[in-house]
Structure formats: C-alpha cells, structure tokens
C-alpha cells in the first residue's frame, strides 16, 4: 500500500517535468541538490551491486543503459524490488527514489 502511494506521488511529480528528450543536455531538468542527494544515496546503497558511479556494474543491471523513458519501471523496481534486488520502499522516501532517478539519468553527465 505504501509503495503504491509512493509511486502515485512520483507519477504526479513527474507530470510537472518536461519529457526527457526535451530537457537541456546538462542537468536535464534536475535540480543540482537533487542530483547530489541521488549521488549520495547511490554511492552508499546501490554502488555495492551496480558499481561505483554506475561503472563496472558486475552482476546487477547496467544502469547506464536503463531506458530514459521508463521512469515508472525504475521507481517500481526500486520500491518493490526486482529479481535479486530487494525492495527499498520502506527505507527510501519517494523524493529519495526521485533523486536516485535523477542521478541515474543525469548524475554522471554533469
């Protein structure tokens, strides 16, 4: 239930953003602070499997290749878990998952 609400709120939040293809090449519409938060969460919790700075993802999926148009799938996977990845919905707040998405899309391109 909580995960469902989190996703709903993120979808609503997403409606306020321009589509990824229309964004500026630099921050792609994400606030610097949001990218910083995302980078910190990523470095602590995600990098052990997905690789430092998304380099060398080893066994987990290569997030550099995650389709930019599939934000909802990203949020779902993080929140509810996917395959060997456990759910994070009870630990990360919706805005933190949002920050992670920002980092995955744009965090290593600035």
């Amino acid at each position: 239930m909580r995960a469902g609400l989190a996703i709903a709120s993120l979808v609503i939040a997403a409606l306020g953003c321009a589509p990824a293809t229309a964004q500026t090449p630099q921050l792609q519409g994400f606030a610097p602070q949001q990218l910083k938060t995302g980078a910190e969460i990523y470095a602590r919790n995600c990098s052990p499997c997905h690789g430092a700075r998304m380099l060398d993802p080893q066994g987990a999926s290569d997030l550099r290749k995650f389709p930019r148009g599939e934000r909802e799938r990203f949020v779902n996977s993080v929140t509810r878990g996917k395959n060997q990845m456990p759910p994070w919905g009870d630990l990360l707040k919706p805005e933190e998952v949002e920050a992670l998405w920002a980092y995955v899309v744009a965090g290593e391109k600035i």
């Binding site: 910190e40 470095a43 602590r44 919790n45 990098s47 052990p48 499997c49 690789g51 430092a52 700075r53 380099l55 060398d56 993802p57 080893q58 066994g59 987990a60 290569d62 878990g81 060997q84 456990p86 759910p87 994070w88 009870d90 630990l91």
Partner: protein
C-alpha cells in the same frame, strides 16, 4: 537419526559413514581417508541420485550425514534426505521479509547445519538460530540473535563445542559491532555473547579512537564457522573486517577485526588473539577456515592453525599460544612487502599509503582477496594445502566517509576493474606448502574463478566444482583433471565424501549464488541457469 554425542563430534572423520562437523572434522581439514574412489577408479564415478532443492538463491552449504540421513540447508529451507536413495525425508522452509537481502552483502545463502543429541541446528538470514528435531524436522526452539533491520544477518553454520552451540554474525558492511554467541543447545537460551570489538574500558578498545565512537559501528563480523581443538578446549574464529572500509575515521589497530580469536566454548573467554591486518583498510577480513594440523617445524612437531588469508599471505600460527610461525605471500601482493615475524605485523608499502591517502590505487590482491571463503583442504598424508585461489587486482579508492545510518551500507569505497593482460589467469587451483607458500603445482584458470571448497581424499583425488556447473576430480599429485560431470547449475558449495554399507559416495550441492554470482552474473547469465539441487555420486559397479 538418534542422538550423537560430543565424543562422536570429536571423532568425526574416523567413522566414514558420518560427516558430523563443518569442515569434516573439528580441524576443518576437509580430508577423508577414503580411497575406494582413486585416480584409477574415478573414471567410473557416476551420479546415483539428484534431489531438487527448489531454490534459486544459491547453494553454498556443506551437507551433514548421520546414521544414513543427510541434512542440507540453504537460505530458504532445511532438508533431510536418505543418503543412499536420495529420497526427501522432511523439509522445513523458512520465511523472511523480502527486504532482508538488503542487509546481506554477499549472497543470500546458508553454509550448513550442525547436529547434536538428536537435533539439527541452523541460522537464518533474518538473524535467528533454530533447533529442529532431527527425525521429524519439527521446530523445537527459535531464538532471535539480533534485529536484521539493523544490518545483522546469519549465514554461518553453527559449531557445537564442549556442549555449547556457537554462532557468529554477518554485517560488517552495515556497521554492526560483531559478536560470537554461545547458546544452550537444549533450550535456545543465550549463555554468553562475546563482542569482537571491546567496549570502552575493556582491553583492546584503546586501539580505537578515543575521541569518536567508531568502535560502536566498527564491524568485526564472524561469518564462517570456527575450528575447534578439543584437547586444548580452544575454538578458533576468524574475525571480519572493520567498518567502514574507508579507514580515515578509525586510526589504530582496530582490535579484534581481521584477527583470529582463540576462545573457550563454555564461556566465550578469549585466551589469545592474533591480528593479521591491523587497521584493515582493504576489507581483508579473516573470517574463514583456520585449518588445524600438526606440522613438523624445524624438526619439532607443532600444533598449528593455518589460514590462506585474504590479504595474500599464508599464515601458520602455533595454536596453543598464537605465536606466528610463518607468513608467506601465496599470490601477488602489493599493499605490504612482507610480514615481520618478530612483530607479527605486515610491513605496508607506498601502495597502502596511497590508499590511505584516498587516491585511486592499483591494489593487489583486491578487496575480495587472494582467496575468499572457498575453503581450502589439508591432506595430512602429503602435508599440502589444496586451494582455489584468485588472481585479481582492482583500482581501489577510499571515499570520504559519511555519518553512520543504521541498517544501511557503511563502506565508502570505489573498486573498479583493472585492464587484464591477454592470457593472464583469473585464479588458480593449487597445491601449496603451508610453511613456505611454495606451490607444488598450479593450474591456471582462464575464464572464471572457482568459488567452491576443496575436498582431499586418501585416494589421491581432489574434488571441487566450477561456477559453470562442472563437478571435477583432480589428481592431487599434479592437478591434472581426471573426471568431470556437468550439473544443472553453477557450483559454489562444499563437496563431501562418506560411506554407506562400504560404498564410497561423494556429494555436492549445485545452484549458482553467492558473491561471485553477483560479480560475474553478466558473463554467466546466458550459460548458467539458477536452481538448487543435491548431487550424489558413487562408482558404477564393475
């Protein structure tokens, strides 16, 4: 299954019908005198049964065999099997919250059960220890070790020593303060807890900063079963890495991380310790097997404990008092030049300084070690250690540490791939002299490292398994492969051998999982499907 006594456990290995302890004997030599399967007959080795474990998380456990019944575990279940027919006798499944793997750094698995007095004991991923009735599988008691949400998990096989059930803990990657627990096997009541990091005012705490609380979140897990010497009444537990891996906030030796503790099973009292890697900045850990044997050292028999440490050195200690006898590099090492036998301490190089200065640095062996948990075997007839080792460096960097958050990762490092020269092996299967670390033979591995334990036998044959599923037998004199069988998934477990009615059997669990599956999934996923099962082999009759 009826009862088995402390004497049975002490004598494990002498009655080859049974395998009662982790490591096939309290000494953890993983040696069996059996010779029905030898270098010549091994060609007639065929599977006699296979049982699905209905589990996709990976199989790492060592089977226990008593009175014709085999017990195996994984993270999801405990299964009792007729050792000859392969028929399932009982199965107890475990439920844990789907979030639990978040606090498991290195693979959702379980290393095996212990048995004592008609009961089967195991640990659970969500940090409990459980007792089942060995005949029926009925749960007798279940005790909570710690709160999994705080970063604690258990995958370790319990040890029964001097009538006490003993368990370790995992979680140094999440900033736990590690401990070893003693339990009453009858009731599940905790008898003692010994923290691996001493509290303020206790001896050893002075090796942690006194102006911050780093010791409270300093790691020091214990995730591989200790060995035990009943004559000395000492058990030997390898202790894990300090937390976080980045070391800037924890100057000092950080006792008793990356050490061995020699302890009394009845009380948890530490009689001696030896620290392999003071102020470990590399996740070098020291958790796995401390193999007990008698070695001839300069003409004198010595009771020793041996470890192929992750830091690249092979240590031989006098297990009566912890005195260092020898420590020689068995793989490429660049963080230390050697171990000073007088002080017992490694002599760090400029590479170590560069890492401590937070510079990206080419580092050998990598944090995963020159050997990881894949247990080595020691054959007292040849005096050699047989091991699956790793040849791996990484570009390693400490990051700025952030405040501790309970239940979250506490590492703060980057660990990136190094380019690999064409033809450079990723690891070896090898026979090593314990006192010199010289290799009697060495078989290079070109594609994938081996993350299975080794088994050595009186028949001159070694058994181990590959991530690509092959269960293999090697000539212990040369390393030449004599036989192989393709199992249905990858093997990262612990082969055993035993007899029933005079016939020698060999058993191994197949089911890819564990840390190496995390590391190499991209290369293995199209070749090696998941799915756990037990395979048992014997010689086809003439």
């Amino acid at each position: 299954m009826t009862g088995q006594t402390l004497d049975d456990l002490k004598n494990d290995g002498k009655n080859t019908d049974n395998i009662l302890t982790y490591g096939m004997g309290y000494h953890q030599q993983r040696y069996s005198p059996l010779r029905q399967i030898d270098k010549n007959t091994v060609r007639r080795l065929v599977p006699v049964w296979n049982l699905s474990l209905d589990n996709n998380w990976g199989e790492q456990a060592q089977p226990i065999v008593y009175d014709g019944v085999m017990v195996v575990t994984n993270a999801r279940a405990t299964v009792a099997i007729d050792a000859v027919s392969g028929k399932q006798i009982w199965k107890q499944t475990l439920e844990w919250p789907p979030e639990t793997p978040r606090v498991v750094c290195c693979g959702v698995s379980n290393k095996g059960a212990a048995i004592y007095n008609g009961r089967v004991y195991r640990t659970t991923l969500d940090a409990h220890v459980v007792a089942y009735d060995a005949k029926t599988g009925k749960e007798i008691w279940k005790s909570k070790v710690a709160e999994w949400k705080d970063g604690y998990a258990l995958t370790v096989a319990p040890l029964i020593a001097n009538g006490v059930l003993i368990t370790g803990i995992s979680g140094a990657e999440f900033g736990i303060r590690g401990f070893i627990d003693g339990w009453d096997p009858e009731t599940g009541k905790q008898l003692w807890r010994h923290y691996t990091i001493p509290a303020r005012g206790e001896k050893g705490n002075e090796t942690w900063p006194q102006d911050n609380n780093a010791w409270e979140t300093g790691g020091g897990s214990a995730w591989i079963t200790g060995s035990y010497d009943p004559a000395l009444d000492l058990m030997y537990w390898g202790i894990g890495n300090p937390a976080p891996w980045a070391s800037q906030r924890r100057p000092g030796d950080n006792l008793y991380t990356s050490s061995v503790l020699a302890m009394r099973p009845k009380t948890g009292e530490v009689v001696w310790y030896y620290q392999f890697t003071p102020n470990d900045a590399y996740d070098y850990d020291a958790c796995w097997e401390l193999i007990l044997a008698e070695l001839n050292v300069q003409g004198r028999p010595r009771k020793v404990a041996m470890q192929l440490n992750r830091n690249g050195f092979l240590y031989v200690l006098d297990r009566t008092n912890g005195q260092l006898i020898s420590a020689n590099a068995y793989e490429k090492v660049n963080w230390a030049s050697h171990v000073d036998l007088k002080t017992g301490r490694p002599v760090e190089t400029d590479i170590a300084k560069s890492i401590r200065d937070m510079k990206a640095t080419e580092h050998w062996p990598s944090t995963r070690g020159a050997k990881n948990w894949q247990h080595a075997a020691f054959n007292p007839q040849t005096g050699l250690i047989y091991a699956n080792t790793m040849h791996e460096g990484r570009m390693y960097r400490h990051l700025e540490t952030k405040p501790f958050v309970v239940g979250q990762r506490y590492q703060f490092i980057e660990n990136l791939l190094l380019p690999r020269a064409a033809g450079e092996p990723v690891g070896h299967i090898e026979a090593i002299d314990p006192l010199t670390a010289e290799k009697k033979w060495r078989v290079p591995l070109a594609d994938f490292q081996i993350w299975s334990a080794m088994l050595t036998t009186g028949g001159g044959v070694l058994f181990t398994g590959k991530e690509t599923g092959e269960f293999i037998a090697l000539d212990a004199d040369t390393g030449k492969q004599l036989w192989q069988f393709q199992t249905g998934s990858g093997i990262n477990a612990m082969p055993v051998t035993f007899t029933q009615k005079g016939r020698q059997y060999v058993t191994v669990l197949s089911g890819i999982g564990g840390l190496y599956w995390n590391i190499a999934r991209e290369q293995l996923k199209d070749k090696v499907p998941s799915g756990g099962s037990v395979w048992t082999f014997a010689l086809m009759p003439n």
